[in-house]
């Protein structure tokens, strides 16, 4: 069943407001036998109060056992099957630095590398040159000019940068030029289909000009290209759900992902408190609000249990301000788990909470992984979260007579 098509057919817009609060990497693990998870250890009176009023569930982002990256995690949350709607690595990298891809773009992840006199790679990461140094080199690459193609060169971090070619009809199916080892020259860009031949030719010209510009560099005198990809072709929130959607986030990656599904960026918040102020200010202008909180994931990646607990408590503290806006549907969830015990994203389900006047409360007494296991939403897949949101907002018609 194509749930998105079904929702598209059944959507019946009204003037209700839906808020999705996403605490990145929310789900966790105990760090000692019999101990609590980060969420269970945190003092979260506001979220627990919502759990009592609402309906909880244990959400699988992609499939049991599969750990999602940030791209697939958010696509799942937004209701797009992450396996069907793939975001190419180059497109994700460009999105992650806030570059707004257009339909005719091909984005490429690039690394500076060090080459010897014969053009063979001696260091695939150019000694991990500091970001300020590489940014200066990236700026010099902006002198590259290729007829009929608009070229963008954007710094990322250390040896990494992004190149975007903009021209009609460019394919994204070009092999990586990174040979993944030293002692050999970077590979030539090779196209895997007809529309990508021109892309490969453009890439060759880019590399040739770049080699001249970089010739005098002590470390970053070469480059490799990976993850050639076009802008993913995702239907918008307006098209699928009939929702005018706003994204409120601090980090470029999440702003970018939201833009890929047609959300508008609101404000320039620097922290969660400011995000909530943006939410209040934009309240009358949108139907749907995606509010992203990053630091639960960051502290999980650090493996700092107490710090993640503290971030969850900060997250809990803004909940009353959101509730005061009186959204028709309020969802609290994450895009994946990031247990401190693993210091990385994980496959564990994400505790998820939905509050609406139309929901069927389930007796859960707190917002936690353990309580969510017995919640009324059951164990469900992320792509069903948006249909559930729309249903509780009474924005979905009946299927069949």
């Amino acid at each position: 069943m194509d749930i998105q098509q079904l929702v598209r057919d059944l959507k019946t817009p009204n003037d209700s407001k839906i808020v999705m609060l996403v605490a990145d990497g929310l789900g966790g693990l105990p760090v000692r036998p019999g101990g609590p998870t980060e969420l269970e250890a945190a003092r979260t009176p506001n979220l627990d109060g919502l759990a009592k009023r609402g309906v909880s569930g244990s959400m699988t982002m992609i499939a049991p056992g599969i750990t999602p990256g940030s791209g697939p995690g958010h696509l799942g949350l937004f209701g797009y099957d992450p396996v069907r709607f793939l975001i190419g690595r180059g497109a994700l990298e460009a999105t992650g630095i806030g570059f707004k891809l257009e339909a005719n773009d091909v984005a490429i992840r690039c690394n500076f590398c060090s080459l010897d006199d014969e053009g063979k790679i001696t260091d695939r990461r150019a000694g991990r040159i500091p970001t300020d140094e590489s940014t200066a080199v990236v700026e010099r690459l902006r002198a590259i000019s290729i007829p009929g193609v608009e070229v963008f060169v954007e710094p990322v971090k250390e040896h990494r940068f992004v190149v975007v070619f903009r021209a009609e009809g460019l394919g994204g199916n070009v092999e990586d030029t990174d040979p993944q080892r030293t002692g050999v020259a970077p590979l030539e860009p090779v196209a895997n289909d007809e529309p990508s031949r021109r892309t490969a030719e453009v890439a060759r010209q880019f590399v040739a000009q770049a080699r001249e510009i970089l010739a005098g560099q002590p470390k970053a005198n070469g480059l490799t290209m990976r993850g050639f990809s076009t802008k993913p072709d995702l239907p918008t929130y307006e098209e699928v759900y009939g929702l005018k959607a706003a994204a409120i986030a601090v980090y470029p990656m999440y702003k970018g992902l939201a833009q890929l599904v047609g959300m508008e960026l609101e404000g320039q918040p620097a922290n969660l408190r400011e995000e909530i102020e943006v939410l209040k200010g934009a309240w009358n202008d949108f139907d749907f609000f995606f509010v992203h909180f990053k630091y639960t994931d960051s502290r999980g990646e650090d493996g700092d249990f107490d710090a993640k607990v503290k971030m969850i408590e900060e997250f809990d503290a803004v909940v009353p301000d959101v509730v005061a806006l009186n959204p028709k549907v309020l969802i609290v969830t994450g895009d994946h788990s990031t247990p401190c015990a693993l210091k990385s994203h994980s496959w564990h389900p994400v505790p998820t909470l939905l509050v609406a006047d139309t929901c069927r409360p389930d007796g859960c007494q707190a917002f936690s992984e353990t309580e969510s296991n017995r919640g009324g939403l059951g164990h469900f897949q992320a792509v069903y979260l948006m249909p559930l949101a729309l249903a509780h907002a009474e924005r979905l018609g009946k299927f069949g007579a």
Copy 2:
């Protein structure tokens, strides 16, 4: 989504060990209102201890309401969609008697039957002749010789036997010759596609020679053929999961099923205690161990509640020896339910338990059908058990960046 393809793409082998303990037909039913199931009635301190440390769930083998045979049940456990990867009846019968099918084989389930003077069937099962009698007749059929084809004839039980033709290019798409009634002659073998024409011709020659050999038999003077099938084309555990896998089982059927997915047979154990000794001895040579315990199913089929309870207690008793090996992931499950109340396989979900340092404990206090219903694995399909095993063994990479 093709979960097996996803797992294949994401697998990242390490040196962890995974053990899957399968108690055949584990799931049960109460025999009186409000009473316990067999598993709930059994004293299982070791399994209950694992349930407290691990994560439980209620596993559906194929789909809700569908009762699996042993073949589909095990394919599901092994992570192969049982509806997509069909094992032909002939191939399953050959596998069940421990015949190791090769790529060029066509396997056929045969029945001895009784024919009258006109060649019409008077008894479709040749009076269910005793196994020792039919084995002697089967041995005489080994004299059959067909140019260019290697022919195997193997006894099964009573009137049943297996024939395998081995030759390049033989198709498996031939109609049964059993007319399913008496008073008519066995049907001619009819091919349904081009590669099966030669198979049908070989079958005709086999039947003609067999009729001559069987002419003097009092009861078993004819035969019918059913379930023509080639070896199922299953990718191996090594290919899909990157696992070197061992199968430890007493009965040929389960050894055969495990071999179909590329597991190696270890030892010649005669009972569960010996199986555990084989497990210990093979510990350093494999990544994955499938250990099969038959008698929970047998006593379920007998409808003997107390005897099944006792078998579950015997199963529980070996658990500490397995735990002592310190597997990274330990799974305890069944291939289907076999409730004594029904004396047969059933569609009821199978209580399933996974223990690993990386699991999220769920508060379940015992290993039972009722506790599994509220477990952290939720209600899940069998094909996700192997992805979950690999994830908890940290053998799966992240999907997307």
